[in-house]
Assembly symmetry: C2
Homo-oligomer: 446 residues x 2
């Protein structure tokens, strides 16, 4: 693939002046959003949002390969009256890379292929496609972000299913009471509901790991880099009876320096965040203990009788393309997937920090650079989410931003203060630029 | 597709004499099987069975398009020393049809397609692909097996996930105790584990619906035609506080006469059994009550954040091809998917009944023919499973058949007597013929 031009950091002043002027002349369109399941759910928006989303996507495509003026135009067309939804981390940002890759990751599946439930009956995880397993091992080797030797691979319908499978596998059906499940705040907003929605007698959400003081066994979810705030993490509760699940969905070079291969008992990854193929619903676990592998496999057998073979086939091809792009980078005029996505993320974080630093209404986490063994030089953490704090009098940052038609997820869902919100950094260029435009306008106005 | 020749019913005597003679001259191969999770699980067999399965598949392909002598040869090559596993209903029988269809159901997905989690944000079930939903409605109209008007469609990772989603949706988080889940024996062997593996405080397996006498609300799973025995069913518990889940995985013309469109509150179907695409892991629910739709959607959101979009795309194409084959049957020299599969099933049941009736060791369920609105004439039920009874002194039919290297699932897992076993009828031609050969040999010998 030829190198793609990342849009240069345009002049903020130029952008804002143009954008504000154009905004005034825009015909106001009726825009509203309906909250279905509350701000945590996916069902936020009905008819209207389809229109909004597809419009934004079209506009962003126009903007993608062109200059500042077309970026401004795209923002203008979408308009500030429109709701932009950055509540969930939908990784549509990566679409451009995969379009540019052309046919390299196109899959073709004939109608008679993979009819059987079974992928590999010689494996404990009988629904794991051998080709997918090979590409997982290869990619971890290429990137250097996980030890795969001495590990079994368990494939899941996204890493969500694997979190549940791991809770099931690490708990005991004979225990007198459910095992406590903890994670340090701010923790991933779905952990509490995932642990409790079934009212399971096996495990139970027990809140913030930092204040957890109950005796006996527990399961700690260690998310690193952390969702929502992007910081690197280690287990917080330091006791002998702890069982750890390492959720490393964002431990990839575009988000954080890869300091060393992760080397834990049970580690989770997903294509949603590594390559952007969220709709494919494929995650994987690297698991040391064979008994845990058996129980996780049993969980997935009872839950969904395995994992889509079509999706595993597609994920194999995508992971292969990523590894190939890394290995060929030096030999050909190509840019690896990670270099490409690192550059976009770097650009976005630069723009974001510039806007936030221009006023005093908001603040962002601060990170230290570190040596990345994948890139071979120091890199800066640039998380997939913004963990934004509203400074001053604004107590409910989510409501405040909703007033400006920016949908975010309140800090309270992450076990944190409502002065914080989580905002996706992985949406299309068009949506991201609208976010920047609006944050800037808010600081100008207030 | 040109009409395929179904192998004629060969002379059983000829087949048996040849087969027995050849069997004697076979070099005994080392064959064993290991039980991983017990006879109920998918992890039955390790290395050996991979070999067995692939061998059987190769042999069956040879046998498929040819005459009696090659069928005999195929059985001979596979040998009676080999373990044949008919414990689970893996629908590999349909492979031949899909091969003959050529490119009609081949899917091609470019690498940049369906990156997003979201399929259709205008739908409560936001992860449902609109194209898949349209093909579901169309197929039910073409076949006449379900009313779709006034129903929402919820897609699931196979119908297993939808059963769990339905249990979650129909139970109440505020109830004093878990709601009872019942089904009339013999019931699908996975129902008890599916209801209880999470030790949920929402619902709890309460056994055979026929003997259920507890007061208060309950959920009844009505499987029709029933897995394992193939009989048509209605709800057994007849009380006002019952919530019903109709599992109609086998309510398709190749298995049972379609008497009228099913018309229930919550009905489940799956591509695994209708078209044979088990590896694709796609099922769907037709649901009347919007609140139930919301809760089922929430369950799938927390469980797997949606359902593979690639698999939905593939399933759409497959369902479309099935509907097309039905609509084009009269106008062109083509055979519909259901006519084709009905003929194979009829042939298999004829062969099976001939073998079983030739001795007095085994017995089979008896069915009455009925008018099928799809075919426009009377048809006979011909279930996807054999519910075989060992007559006489054999108390443990599963162990007995295991001694003859036929792996089946014991009646005890279905809440029935161990004198019964369930045997898949949906395997390859080669494996099915080996089954017939062995049942015949057993009756000759004993």
């Amino acid at each position: 693939m030829a190198k793609l031009a990342v849009p240069p950091l345009f002049s903020l002043r130029h952008f804002l002046v143009l954008s504000l002027a154009l905004n005034v002349s825009l015909i106001l369109r009726t825009a509203y959003y309906e909250s279905g399941e509350g701000s945590k759910g996916f069902c936020l928006k009905k008819k209207m949002m389809v229109d909004v989303d597809s419009d934004v996507i079209d506009k962003s495509r126009l903007a993608i390969s062109s200059s500042t003026s077309s970026l401004v135009n795209s923002t203008r067309s979408a308009g500030r009256e429109r709701v932009i939804n950055l509540d969930h981390g939908d990784p549509t940002m990566y679409e451009r890379f995969w379009r540019e890759m052309g046919d390299k990751t196109t899959i073709t599946i004939p109608g008679w292929q993979s009819l059987s439930y079974l992928s590999d009956v010689s494996n404990i995880c009988w629904f794991l496609e051998p080709e997918f397993a090979r590409e997982v091992v290869r990619l971890h080797k290429v990137v250097g972000n996980a030890v795969t030797e001495g590990r079994h691979i368990v494939v899941g319908t996204g890493s969500s299913q694997l979190i549940l499978a791991a809770l099931y596998a690490l708990s005991s059906p004979d225990a007198a009471e459910p095992i406590s499940v903890v994670s340090a705040a701010p923790y991933y907003s779905s952990y509490p509901s995932m642990a409790d929605y079934q009212k399971s007698g096996l495990y139970k959400w027990a809140g913030d790991a930092e204040t957890f003081d109950k005796e006996g066994p527990y399961i700690e979810l260690v998310t690193s880099p952390n969702n929502p705030d992007g910081y690197r993490r280690q287990a917080m509760v330091n006791r002998s009876q702890g069982l750890l699940i390492h959720d490393l969905a964002y431990y990839w070079p575009q988000y954080t320096p890869i300091s060393s291969p992760s080397d834990h008992d049970l580690t989770l990854f997903t294509v949603s965040k590594s390559t952007g193929h969220a709709g494919t619903r494929i995650g994987w676990a690297l698991v040391k203990d064979e008994e845990v592998v058996k129980k996780m496999t049993k969980f997935i057998e009872l839950n969904t009788i395995g994992v889509s073979r079509d999706s595993q086939f597609r994920a194999s091809k995508v992971l292969k393309a990523v590894s190939d792009s890394c290995e060929q980078e030096n030999s050909q005029d190509e840019e690896s997937f990670f270099k490409y996505s690192y550059k976009i993320m770097a650009q976005r974080w630069k723009q974001l920090r510039a806007v936030v630093d221009a006023g005093d209404m908001f603040s962002l986490p601060q990170f230290s650079p570190a040596f990345c063994i994948f890139f071979g030089h120091e890199t800066e953490p640039q998380p997939g989410f913004i963990w934004l704090k509203c400074e001053g009098d604004i107590e409910d940052c989510e409501s405040f931003l909703r007033g400006h038609k920016i949908i975010t997820r309140s800090g309270k869902h992450f076990g944190a203060s409502p002065k914080y919100v989580r905002i996706s950094m992985l949406d299309t260029d068009g949506t991201f630029l609208q976010l920047i435009d609006r944050l800037s306008a808010i600081q100008e106005r207030e």
